[in-house]
């Protein structure tokens, strides 16, 4: 059971990264490869706010959300808007990820930093497995944010507009929706989400610069398995990846866990390219 708990925890982090991808993807059909690095930045700011500044928990969250959201908006401006075409955007988002990694390393160094958890650090025993409160909180966060994503996208004017943009950009423009502002907004929201998660992910993973690139890939797999642009997809995809990773690590050996995730990715992409919850997109020659 402990293995399952740790798989679910990993899955929660991947799912939260996938959710961040989805927020941006739904509104602007952009895949923001640097999103996981934004989350990593969030863990560092959490460290800085908690350990260096010794701020109260509420302010830590606020600071993380604001700073990371601002960085995400900058990213949209310099790495997304001037670039046409997916190849170019992949290059620039990888560039932004690297830039962010470099800057983070300059400020905080390359050593992993321990981010203290604001809640209890006592191990719990749930369903016969050992689990930390922070891990439960991560899982809770995934469920809550995925639910918010679904609720907003289905139940508010903003959400309806978001889905309209993803279905037909031009028709959305003709309804007076400021598509560009939506794109910036999506980056800001996904950045804020990444920031808010900093103080929760940090205690689990430590604040370490190299976290971004591996999270980016696993988050991508979660999104691909769940379906591009789907909230429930991010949840299910994340958990699937987390469980595959921890279970195969447990029963086949550490070295096989990434390999199994990769196999799952290939299988989904070749057999069901839209993912489990994705929509088929019509193609025109």
């Amino acid at each position: 059971m402990t293995v399952i708990w740790s798989g679910l925890t990993l899955g929660a982090i991947y799912g939260l990264v996938a959710l961040g991808y989805n927020i941006v993807f739904v509104t602007s059909n952009v895949f923001n490869f640097a999103h996981a690095q934004l989350l990593t930045l969030g863990t560092f700011i959490a460290f800085w706010a908690t350990v260096t500044l010794k701020l109260p928990t509420v302010l830590v969250f606020l600071l993380c959300a604001v700073i990371v959201a601002a960085v995400a908006v900058v990213e949209e401006r310099i790495a997304i808007r001037p670039v046409r075409g997916t190849e170019g955007q992949l290059v620039t988002t990888v560039g932004f990820l690297t830039l962010l990694e470099g800057v983070t390393q300059l400020i905080w160094g390359g050593q992993p930093l321990q981010v203290p958890f604001f809640g209890s650090e006592k191990v719990l025993s749930v369903f016969g497995g050992r689990v930390f409160p922070v891990e439960l909180m991560l899982m809770g966060a995934l469920v809550v944010f995925a639910a918010i994503f679904v609720a907003v996208s289905r139940g508010t004017m903003l959400g309806i507009a978001m889905l309209a943009v993803s279905e037909d950009r031009e028709a959305a423009l003709m309804r007076g929706i400021n598509v560009r502002a939506m794109a910036i907004g999506a980056f800001a929201v996904s950045g804020a989400l990444a920031g808010l998660l900093g103080p929760v992910v940090g205690p689990e993973t430590f604040a370490v610069v190299s976290l971004g690139s591996s999270l980016a890939l696993k988050g991508f797999v979660a999104m691909a398995i769940g379906g591009f642009g789907s909230g429930p997809g991010a949840l299910i995809g994340g958990i699937t990846v987390g469980l595959i990773e921890s279970e195969s690590g447990r029963y086949l050996g550490e070295s096989y866990s990434n390999l199994m995730v990769f196999t799952a990715l290939l299988a989904v992409m070749l057999l069901r390219p839209t993912g489990l919850f994705g929509h088929a997109r019509e193609r025109v020659v």
Binding site: R84, E87, L90, L217, S257, M269
Partner: protein, 608 residues
């Protein structure tokens, strides 16, 4: 003037050759061993970058797995070296074979995915390298690294550091020569066509599947070779050498040097290897600088250098050259063209439950211009796409001459159906002559190897390409623009160029899709004249066109498509007075309109 002429006579390969010879001779020029080591590292990075350039810069596919292929090549050679197989040639062949296998395995899913899914999958492969090394830790040494690689030998004698240096530089120079020969060959142009548009490529008879796979496979080779050389440099391999940082630096070097270039790889690799980044004081800024480089490079890449030139040209043109005179056109006679009858019999096509084409039959005969007209949504584009093999038939048949037409786009093209596009589709970075020659690509098969080694078969094919392209360019009156950048020409000229590119394959059927749209009256007249001459020489021309006057003046037979079926067909004189055609274009099919008309007071004359 003399100096300039002299300079122009020096072939373009002379400077790189001299540079290569000088670098190869470094050990004899008293260059220090530490510098030699740096040169070897530059060579290795150059090989890696040039592999990426082939797939990204030329074929337009972002495959980021070079680091993984590199690791594969390195460990295969390392393993051989540690087990007594030190011959460099054996190792090179083994590493290259391993690279080819890894390239193909990752390339095949990439064929289905494309764009960033391919980028991600190939990226993931790099993440798997340490895991693979651990799984095979008895062979690879796992996280500890692979030690005890014996020094390389050649033909039984051990290579001294000096001869190893020479081997590395010679190999790198040879690879660049191979790549240069490849990208300047007809295959190189075909890669650029693929990058511009897979639809264009298949319309020219190029198999998209084969070309993409070739680009991955050939792009993997230098990474394998680089791996082999790396294994023999320090006689030790560590998993740390093949991580995310390497991916980023390969990408950065490629962007920095220019992805669509051969020697750009050398420039990018040299700057990254010898530039300030490697010095310890700059080391900590390395990631920041790489990141900034990728950001700026990505922005420029998306515009493309040719795109920049084109927009500049358009500005210049508007300012000083309102319309570049194309004068030399004399209306040469075309040699006879062997057209074939294109016949469409009772064609049916439905998307979902929606019948787009119902029982459509038409026939286009050699020596005639057959026009297809119809209002929006009448199914013209669908019909055209079906003739070109993009959709499966739901009923009926399409025949070319006395054979059924194939259902795979590139096979349709090879069977003799050439087409132009509504928006001219012309790859960037090639000349007018090359663009026309690319239309001749599929008519003659030459292997990649014969292109690389410039074998007689290749030379023959190429001289036919050149000759045919000249002939066709003269026909359309563009021979003076032969060496101009094709994509930066004005629209009218690009349309003529597209026709020339289609003609060069001696098509049995020529499909012109809205060829006159966006042209001014002179240009329309030139185009009309060309079409008349093609038909007069025996070609089969199918014209899908909005310009009604042009259709009336050109066509021998007109088919009117409306709501998915043929409404009327006949000669221009018949169609012009055909009542159904009038009503279809004028919308008189509304029976109740009469009543509305009377309320609007049309017949009464005055409304207000």
């Amino acid at each position: 003037m003399d100096v300039r002429q002299l300079l122009q006579r020096i072939p373009t390969w002379a400077a790189p050759l001299v540079a290569a010879v000088v670098v190869i001779l470094f050990p004899y020029l008293g260059i220090q061993v530490t510098v030699q080591r740096q040169v070897i590292l530059v060579c290795i990075l150059t090989l890696l970058v040039s592999g990426l350039n082939l797939s990204l810069g030329y074929a337009g596919e972002l495959a980021l797995g070079q680091a993984a292929v590199y690791a594969g090549g390195a460990y295969v050679s390392g393993y051989l070296g540690a087990h007594g197989h030190t011959d460099l040639l054996v190792q090179l062949i083994a590493s290259a074979a391993a690279a080819l296998v890894i390239g193909l395995i990752t390339g095949i899913p990439g064929l289905r995915l494309g764009s960033w899914s391919l980028g991600m999958v190939s990226f993931f492969l790099v993440l798997l390298v340490p895991d693979f090394l651990n799984i095979f830790s008895t062979q690879t040494g796992g996280t500890l690294g692979l030690a005890g690689i014996a020094p390389a030998s050649l033909f039984g004698s051990q290579l001294s550091p000096r001869s190893f240096y020479i081997a590395v530089t010679v190999l790198t120079a040879l690879w660049l020569l191979v790549l240069r020969n490849l990208v300047t060959s007809r295959h190189g142009t075909a890669f650029r066509v693929l990058r511009e548009s897979p639809v264009l490529a298949s319309s020219m008879g190029i198999s998209v599947f084969r070309m993409k796979l070739s680009a991955y496979a050939i792009g993997a080779l230098p990474a394998g070779i680089a791996g082999c050389l790396f294994a023999n440099l320090d006689h030790y391999l560590s998993p740390d050498s093949f991580g995310f940082d390497l991916v980023v630096s390969i990408l950065a070097a490629s962007i920095l040097g220019g992805s669509a270039s051969v020697y750009g790889a050398v420039v990018g690799a040299t700057i990254l290897q010898l530039g300030p980044l490697e010095s310890t004081s700059f080391q900590k800024y390395a990631l920041v600088i790489y990141g900034a480089l990728l950001l700026i490079g990505g922005v420029v890449l998306s515009l493309g250098l040719a795109g920049l030139i084109r927009s500049l040209w358009v500005r210049v043109e508007r300012r000083w050259l309102p319309r570049p005179p194309i004068t030399t056109y004399v209306g040469e006679q075309l040699p006879s063209i062997e057209g074939a009858t294109l016949s469409v019999d009772h064609l049916v096509k439905a998307f979902g439950g929606n019948k787009v084409l119902q029982d459509v039959s038409l026939e286009a005969k050699p020596g005639q211009v057959t026009a297809l007209i119809g209002p929006n949504g009448s199914g013209k584009t669908t019909l055209l796409n079906m003739i070109c093999g993009y959709y499966r038939l739901d009923g009926g048949a399409i025949r070319l001459g006395d054979r059924p037409s194939p259902h795979v786009p590139y096979k349709v093209a090879r069977a003799g159906v050439a087409r132009t596009f509504q928006t001219p589709s012309i790859p960037e970075g090639i000349t007018v002559a090359e663009a026309v020659r690319s239309g001749h690509y599929a008519t003659k098969h030459t292997s990649f190897l014969s292109a690389v080694f410039r074998l007689p078969g290749y030379r023959r094919a190429r001289s036919i390409d050149i000759e045919e392209a000249r002939r066709v360019l003269a026909l359309v009156g563009l021979e003076e623009l032969e060496n101009d950048e094709a994509a930066s020409l004005p629209l009218g000229t690009r349309r003529l160029l597209e026709v020339a590119r289609s003609l060069v394959s001696s098509p049995k059927v020529l499909l012109l899709d809205e060829a006159a749209s966006g042209l001014d009256e002179d240009e329309v007249e030139r185009l009309a004249d060309l079409i008349r001459r093609i038909a007069a020489s025996g070609g089969t021309v199918v014209l899908v066109e909005h310009n009604f006057r042009l259709v009336l003046s050109l066509a021998d037979q007109i088919y009117v498509l409306a709501r998915g079926s043929i409404l009327a067909s006949g000669t221009p004189a018949e169609i012009e007075v055909h009542p159904d055609v009038m009503t279809e274009y004028l919308g008189m099919k509304v029976p109740a309109a009469d009543s509305l008309l009377s309320t609007a007071g049309i017949d009464g004359g005055k409304d207000d």
